[in-house]
Symmetry: C2
């Protein structure tokens, strides 16, 4: 029913080709069905289309917001733990616990979110996909390593201080997010980086990978908010002269709550970018197919 019109070769090799008007339904079901449509609309839109330019501008506004909110989250969580919680150490004390929020927010939220939207940047679309695929995997690996170190920080702190692990709802959700992230990274590497992976397996995996990507971010945000809320109740009991209770909203409470609001705002912006099909990376060359294995892309 839909006629596939291949995009002109120049469009796949220049960085000025931003086919933002295409409708990509990859995440919605059969990607085979969606592919002809992508090339069709792409070939039919000219670079000077006002709607295309508007879409590019909208993307970069969202992306700038994503970068600024991510940076604000990292700054806030560092300032909170260094200024009000005494700083950092790795000695089993409360200072070791402070690595936990910093590494989880930086790894499982900010780096993860930025890694997820990497493919959406129109500036990268005219280039070979491989470096961006490797960059996506590398950012996600770094996010994963930070998250695992963040979890080790709290487990070690609990063990040294004879506090049970894994009893709170926060910990149940957080460990689920990290376990799913581990599975996502392993299946992502097997599915999209190993050259021996069958095209059919990539086709099957891609919508699942995209869907789980968003859901893991959602779980991370749920875990972070419940963790910050719990920490503020633990820390701000007001039972000594040095601290006011949480209910008085002292500066530390305002900082912690603001960090939570920033994390939620960052998550919403990332999920908005991920859900907008206009901003999905188009296929670089129709003849390669969407799921060209790594070695093929390497030779692009």
């Amino acid at each position: 029913m839909q006629r596939a019109v291949p995009s002109p070769p120049s469009c796949s090799s220049t960085s000025h080709c931003f086919p933002l008007n295409h409708r990509h339904t990859a995440a919605c079901g059969s990607e085979t069905a969606a592919q002809p449509q992508k090339h069709e609309v792409r070939a039919g839109s000219s670079p000077s289309d006002p709607s295309r330019m508007r879409s590019i501008v909208c993307f970069y506004i969202c992306y700038a917001l994503c970068l600024c909110l991510g940076l604000a989250c990292v700054v806030c969580v560092c300032v909170w733990n260094s200024r009000w919680r005494g700083g950092f150490a790795w000695d089993g004390s409360a200072l070791q616990f402070n690595w936990h929020p910093v590494l989880m927010v930086t790894g499982l939220v900010v780096l993860y979110g930025n890694g997820a939207v990497l493919y959406r940047i129109p500036l990268t679309w005219g280039h070979n996909k491989l470096p961006w695929k490797l960059a996506h995997a590398a950012v996600m690996l770094l996010a994963f390593v930070l998250s695992v170190v963040g979890i080790c920080a709290v487990f070690d702190f609990h063990n040294v201080n004879h506090i049970p692990n894994m009893y709170s709802l926060h910990s149940w959700i957080g460990i689920t997010a990290t376990a799913l992230f581990t599975a996502q990274w392993v299946f992502g590497m097997i599915g999209f980086l190993l050259p021996c992976t069958q095209i059919a397996l990539r086709k099957f995996l891609k919508p699942i990978h995209v869907w789980f990507g968003s859901m893991i971010l959602m779980l991370s945000i749920v875990a972070c908010i419940s963790g910050i809320n719990e920490k503020l109740f633990f820390a701000l009991k007001g039972n000594n002269n040095a601290s006011q209770p949480y209910s008085n909203l002292p500066p530390e409470a305002v900082m912690g709550n603001s960090l939570g609001v920033l994390i939620v705002a960052f998550g919403l912006v990332v999920l908005k970018i991920l859900s907008n099909h206009e901003w999905m990376r188009p296929d670089s060359r129709p003849e390669d197919g969407v799921y060209a294995p790594l070695l093929q892309e390497d030779n692009d």
Copy 2:
């Protein structure tokens, strides 16, 4: 570039027409551009298509899961508060507080989620849209009323017991979710129920309405999880003989944590249903347009 083939009249008037194979990009950007595609693919798929049947079966599995998880959430939150928290009253005591989790989970999560997926049920697609539009609005209104009563329960309990309101991160996220839900309901009524609303305004509002629908559910889940986590830490301090501390994972803690897991699972299933464009309700009659005002639909 895309040829719009109107669907046959029989397809718009029978309950056996489930055009599940269409690709609806309404939530992704310009709906005008997406519309021809919907009718095209719809007309091209026959009711006996294996992929269509598979899609219908998948939907009903997800929908059954959504109903079961929603019911399990309501049962769990009621059992938790009646068996372990002493039951319910409206007298300013802790028993009044117990209405808060019950009404928020039932209203802002379960009823809200079920109201959101109402349009996705294929059985409703062959029928006049108006009753389903009114049912969607009515379920959302009931969800809204329960949420407001749930918030009143905790504000009143705090005021009677001289506990400050609105200081925790949980309360900040929860009140934001409820405020956005209020705005969503008001703009939804103005945009989609009032007959005087311009078609152009509906076209503008629909993707925003769909997007905010999912985001409000996400915020509700974040608020619920942080609230359950906070409540379990407050309630299970283990400082009296009657209760064990949360860290010992007594039965109440397992019940509360399980409720949290069920809420997250329910939210993921609802978001999965909402994000699958194959399951979006197709236009009942192409000549009416997607955004036919209420009175037009009334006369269908």
